[in-house]
């Protein structure tokens, strides 16, 4: 049986629910405008956001349209490996918590780029950080707005370009009007929507497929495993890839989430470090709940395709969750699932627009013209945010083909270029401007150039003109091993170059103690040999592991 999910005519119920989501979002943005009085309000909501609000906002920031569309497709293609990718993403929030979140909050910057500038006493690094931020944001963003357009076209019967323009302009409107207050309250609302719109349809899908534990989707399909193993015996096999793949996934997730500026920006909005900590715990619990539910969806999708003999073009794997919902739960739940996917898409796009606008005005323009006062910057912010929103919407009319792959690259590039200097800047006083520069540049080059060849130019990873490493990038998600080089290399260069350059100034070293909450200063804190030595040893071992064990696992790939 061949499945095609295209509608003849408009799916009225789905369109109505989606439009309600869009209208509520604009309403929240408009209402939030009255709360914005100054630059601090516009960029970081006056640092007034509480634990639950921030936690929920981060959930929808984390769970983009890829949760509804891309992950199910990835599981159909990658099986266990795809599950491991999102398992890494779930626990990455705890890495963000313990390595960065509360410390960044105490630093009192507005953005990641501002933190880099102040910690490394360098305007040039701030500008470089803005460039990296724009690259990763565009990779992350283009697919999401296009995803909204695809949802409108395939599922609602509305032309794709209309969906892209409507989705892009709605988000632009409420970000421009409401600033970070509008973004935060919208993300909170959208989190609640997507939690409901994902969990309930999946429970019904599992019920229809006969799962005994359908009422709790994350762990409710265990009794279906024997039948799955008869149909797809290798569904649960982790050894279809080289073991270094999983290390690369962890590195990319953990340091990528720290390096992605739109995640970090959320921590600048909370009241204090304690609220930053606990909001992240709430986030990881809810993100895990959703991700394990999507694992169930992926399982159900593969099971259903095998059971029904369903043959789909690869490009339509993205819609399996909707195909399943319509086939097994009915059109009412399909409409709800579509509305949830629209909410998911909007929330992530809003966060990215916010950081792009803030980066261009506060960090780039602010660096070049430091004499400009905050009120003028605020007025410029409105216009820049509008221009960025329109620009990104137009870019989304022809973005990269693979949404989730673009996002995974964004994680890797952000991790190697920004995540490493942030973590070392917080935990090792001896990290210098020169060390950070070496690590950031090397991390960016070694991750972005392969991305250009593989994602943008569409080359097979083993054919890229990068000597030594290309031969080892074979297999499912083979390109991801690039991250197992770029992140450790960034660490090695940051540490080694820091050792050979002058220590940071006194005020910068004091700021490290302040970030950790100390009222006094002691030179020996966060200034030992242990951390840098361990970092170098582990980094070298990870890089070396790419080129080893291939005889042992000759059957892999």
């Amino acid at each position: 049986m061949e499945g095609v999910l295209e509608r003849e005519g408009v799916f009225v119920l789905g369109l109505i629910l989606s439009l309600i989501i869009l209208l509520i979002s604009v309403g929240i943005g408009t209402w939030s405008r009255r709360l914005t009085r100054n630059l601090s309000d516009y960029y970081v909501a006056g640092r007034s956001i509480g634990t639950i609000n921030n936690g929920l906002a981060m959930v929808s920031l984390a769970l983009s349209l890829t949760t509804f569309i891309g992950l199910t497709a990835l599981i159909i293609q990658g099986l266990y490996v795809a599950v491991a990718v999102y398992a890494g993403f779930t626990s990455a929030f705890i890495a963000l918590l313990i390595l960065a979140a509360p410390f960044l909050r105490r630093h009192k910057s507005f953005t990641t780029m501002a933190f880099i500038a102040e910690r490394y006493y360098s305007r040039n690094l701030r500008i470089f950080s803005v460039i990296v931020m724009l690259v990763v944001s565009i990779l992350y963003l283009g697919g999401n707005i296009k995803g909204i357009g695809i949802v409108f076209f395939y599922l609602l019967g509305v032309p794709e370009v209309v969906g892209i323009l409507v989705g892009g302009l709605v988000v632009t409107l409420y970000v421009v009007l409401g600033g970070m207050y509008g973004v935060t309250y919208n993300q909170t609302f959208q989190s609640i929507v997507l939690l409901f719109c994902l969990m309930f349809p999946v429970a019904i899908i599992l019920q229809q497929l006969g799962a005994a534990g359908w009422a709790f989707p994350p762990l409710g399909y265990g009794d279906m495993v024997p039948q799955m193993l008869e149909k797809v015996p290798h569904y649960f096999m982790p050894m279809v890839v080289h073991p270094v793949t999983y290390l690369a996934i962890a590195l990319g997730s953990f340091f990528g989430i720290i390096g992605l500026p739109h995640f970090v920006m959320r921590f600048f909005t909370v009241r204090d470090a304690k609220e930053a900590r606990w909001s992240t715990v709430l986030t990881v619990f809810l993100v895990g709940l959703v991700n394990t539910t999507v694992f169930a969806t992926g399982f159900a999708a593969v099971y259903y395709m095998q059971a029904e003999g369903l043959v789909l073009p690869e490009a339509q794997y993205d819609y399996m969750v909707f195909i399943l919902t319509e086939a097994l739960a009915g059109e009412g739940w399909l409409a709800i699932a579509i509305a949830g996917s629209v909410a998911a898409g909007l929330s992530t796009v809003a966060g990215l627009l916010m950081i792009m606008g803030a980066g261009l005005v506060h960090d780039l323009y602010g660096s070049l013209k430091p004499e400009v006062d905050d009120q003028k910057k605020l007025k410029i912010s409105y216009w820049v945010m509008l221009a960025v929103g329109i620009g990104v919407t137009l870019f989304s009319l022809n973005p990269p083909e693979f949404i989730l792959e673009a996002i995974m690259w964004a994680f890797g590039i952000a991790g190697a270029s920004l995540g490493v200097p942030i973590v070392l800047g917080i935990w090792w006083k001896r990290t210098t401007k020169e060390g950070a520069a070496a690590g950031m540049i090397a991390g960016f080059i070694t991750s972005f150039i392969p991305c250009l060849f593989i994602l943008i130019m569409g080359m097979d990873p083993t054919d890229i003109p990068v000597p030594v490493i290309a031969d080892y990038l074979y297999g499912p998600l083979g390109w991801i091993k690039v991250i197992a080089i770029s992140v450790p290399l960034s660490f090695i260069l940051t540490v080694v170059v820091s050792w050979f350059t002058s220590p940071p100034p006194d005020d910068v070293r004091r700021s490290v103690d302040e970030m950790h909450g100390w009222q006094d200063y002691k030179e020996e804190r966060y200034n030992g040999w242990g951390l840098p030595v361990v970092v170098i040893i582990v980094s070298v071992l990870i890089i070396a592991s790419i080129f080893t064990l291939y005889d042992t696992f000759a059957h892999i790939g």
Binding site: I94, L97, I98, L99, L219, F285
Partner: protein
Amino acid sequence: MKGYRLEAWLTAISFILIFIFGGAISSIYILGIDAFFVEVNDLYRAVNYIMGFPQHYFLLIVLSWLGATLIGIIWCLAMDRLERKQKS
């Protein structure tokens, strides 16, 4: 133990655990293949099952979610306590 050392050690241990839970655990399954799998006609079946799921799959999804959350909670409680001491 001095406050900052306790903070650093607790963070390091938490990081190692979540690095394992969130990614490296799959590498451990491959490298310790005999403990988790039995070969059947060139494919591998799990030796043990939990709640119907292959043991390794169950551990991956539960540890990366609930395990990571629990580590986060413990770390936050410890940091809350440290922060109170820093302020006193």
